[in-house]
């Protein structure tokens, strides 16, 4: 049975890179992997998502509604925007923060309440604060990936290798360190 992940967030916050690392890690874990994303307008601060489907043999790049097992969201509003891809068995990791929208009034408490109202296995953690504590502000998503690797039950070694294969040489060490921070988070 194939499994699927949605990565969602705000354009420019590194969601696509996180999904790239995850795709390579799954490939290293011997799965067939298909990934779908959209470039273009979405890079300018708009909503961004990427889908990753993995298993023995995958045909479709795009998952059906309600079919995804996991969500990796770098922002709460964007997590909420994509709940239709999830079902009562899905597991979510959401960065506990809101990115303002130009011209919109966002009721933070209501967004959070709304997100919690779904009967979901939801982990809400502020990874930006965690990154600040470790002086790793540029690797927030990698810290998240460290924690996420435990949720999707993929061996850490595949992610470490994927980080080395995906990122610019200068960024590899700090990102492996960041991954460990997330991985060791209880």
């Amino acid at each position: 049975m194939n499994k699927g992940i949605i990565f969602c967030g705000v354009g420019g916050d590194g969601i696509i890179t996180a999904s790239n690392i995850c795709a390579v890690a799954l490939m290293r874990a011997n799965f067939d992997v298909k990934k779908s994303e959209v470039h273009g307008m979405s890079q300018r601060g708009g909503s961004v998502n990427a889908f990753l489907v993995f298993g023995k043999k995958v045909y479709s790049f795009l998952p059906a509604k309600g079919s995804l097992n996991y969500m990796f969201a770098s922002e709460k509003l964007e997590a909420l925007r994509n709940v239709d891809y999830l079902n009562p068995d899905s597991k979510l990791l959401v960065n506990d923060r809101i990115v303002p929208i130009v011209g919109a009034n966002i009721d933070e408490a209501q967004i959070e309440e709304s997100l919690k109202s779904y009967s979901l296995d939801l982990k809400l953690i502020n990874f930006n604060d965690l990154a600040k504590q470790h002086n790793m502000q540029k690797a927030v998503n990698t810290i998240m990936l460290g924690y996420f690797s435990k949720i999707i039950e993929i061996d850490k070694k595949h992610f470490i290798r994927a980080i080395s294969e995906t990122l610019n040489t200068k960024l590899i060490d700090i990102n492996i360190e960041a991954f460990e921070v997330g991985f060791n988070l209880k």
Partner: protein
Amino acid sequence: MRKIISGNEAIAIGAYRANASFASGYPGTPSSEILEYTKTFEDIKVQWASNEKSAFEQALGASLAGRRSFVTMKHVGLNVAADSLMSSSYTGVNAGFVVVVADDPGMHSSQNEQDTRLFAKFAQVPILEPSDAKEAMGFMQYAFSLSEEYDTPVILRSTTRVSHTQELVYFDMHKLGGTEDKLLAKNISKYVLVPKNALLRHKKLLERNTKLQKLTNETPLNRIEQGSLNVGIITSGVSYLYAKELLPEANFLKIGLSWPFPIDLAKEFTKNLEKVIVIEELEPYIEEQLKIAGINNVEGKKFFPQDGEFNLDIVEEGLVKASFLEKSHKKYFEVPKNLPERPPVLCPGCPHRPIFDILHSLKVYVTGDIGCYTLGAAPPLSSIHTTVCMGASISMGYGIAKASQNHKVVSVIGDSTFLHTGIQPLIDAYVNNVAYTVIILDNSITAMTGGQPDAVSGFNIKNEPAPKVDLENLVRSIGIKRVFKVDQYNYKKTKEIIEQEINTKELSVIIATRPCVLAPIKIKETPYFVIADKCIDCKRCLRIGCPAIGYKESKAYIIEDLCTGCALCAEVCPTLAIVKGESNE
């Protein structure tokens, strides 16, 4: 090699393996990354052109020089290169020549969703439609030999989901043998399309069609896949993947070479099946081919939409309507209805923002163009009134200004778009004495598509230093007298000049010179912050539409991480409540 690659990377690798040695193109989502991957191959001479027509003809020239060549563009780019396509179908090629066109069903970043398959039919050139990255690589490779064997340009049609999706592909980087460079083609009766020659070439083209018709019924690119059910699905591109995922037991006719359409194969396929449907994104191209040929027991658009991008849910709904599938009762969550949308916006520090804030305050009519600055149409800036196609800002501004002299008209256009198709209408405006204001937003890069260099950037696709066009000299050389350069971060001076020029009864060109904040270098200066005590809740800074400015408890605040220090908010704040430096709160 085992690697996760995108469709665009696969196309570049396919070209490399097929011994392509020349590539040109104009950036356009979702096609832009093809040349960006191609530039990593040293044996391929690769460049960005100023528009698709120029790129197309450069590559055609390379083909005549005896080198395998290709050109890349998005679907609407082919409109610009349509002239070249229609006639190169008559001349044919020398070395293999492939036209890569990426369609954008669903318009993720486009102004329309036209279907390139109809262009192939119109121009009578073969078109290949891969479904995924693996096929894209193979089809691209094959396209060059198809082009040589049948003496024709070949279109490789990708779509957003093929170009931008990634999958695991096994491949090696060996070049194929048996593709020697050819001699420069010197054949006047073939390549000089005066009527006498062109009439003969038209006959040749029709002969070619007969041969291609035979090929399309025999090629493994069009294949029948037997299933256990007594129903059939005819499909192509990504639609094949959705259908295969949902109903793998059906019989499939998968189309990879869609023009000319394999009619005999389709007749054979449909003959013994109880029900057959066509699943294709956008136009009912396949469906029409079938019905014209008298294959009437098929339906397509009766069950599937003719607009937008397909996905599993849409294809499933169509299969249910066609009684191919039972309605499923999957559980999924509903997204709350009142959720605020998060549309794309101009980046923090974007040099276009001051211009649109000024135009908004001056209440002029603004004809816009294609690029990041199209986002100036979105609230709260709401200052662009038209965006139709590349270069249309200057020509439509011309039409409005000349047809009705009661309106103050401003045309805004980026540097890359100006060089693409903006120069000619500006010449028209000059020689016909049309009085209005043209603002060239010169950020010195093709920003919207990810920061590709253009003719004013000073470097080329390989990041090597390159000669650059001086826009001011170019505009002055037309003969236009009122030409001004402004730095938009100097808000007051910029506003003064724009105001002065829209009130002048003469053609004027204002060149706004601030570079893009993202490319080629990310610009991040000391951020600003709001002194809360001085903020009077007037919301003026919110009306510049900067994503780095938030609002909480009747006060504006600035998100340090996002602020690039452009100071526009500080310039417009009436109480000087916004200052440079990090807040110590």
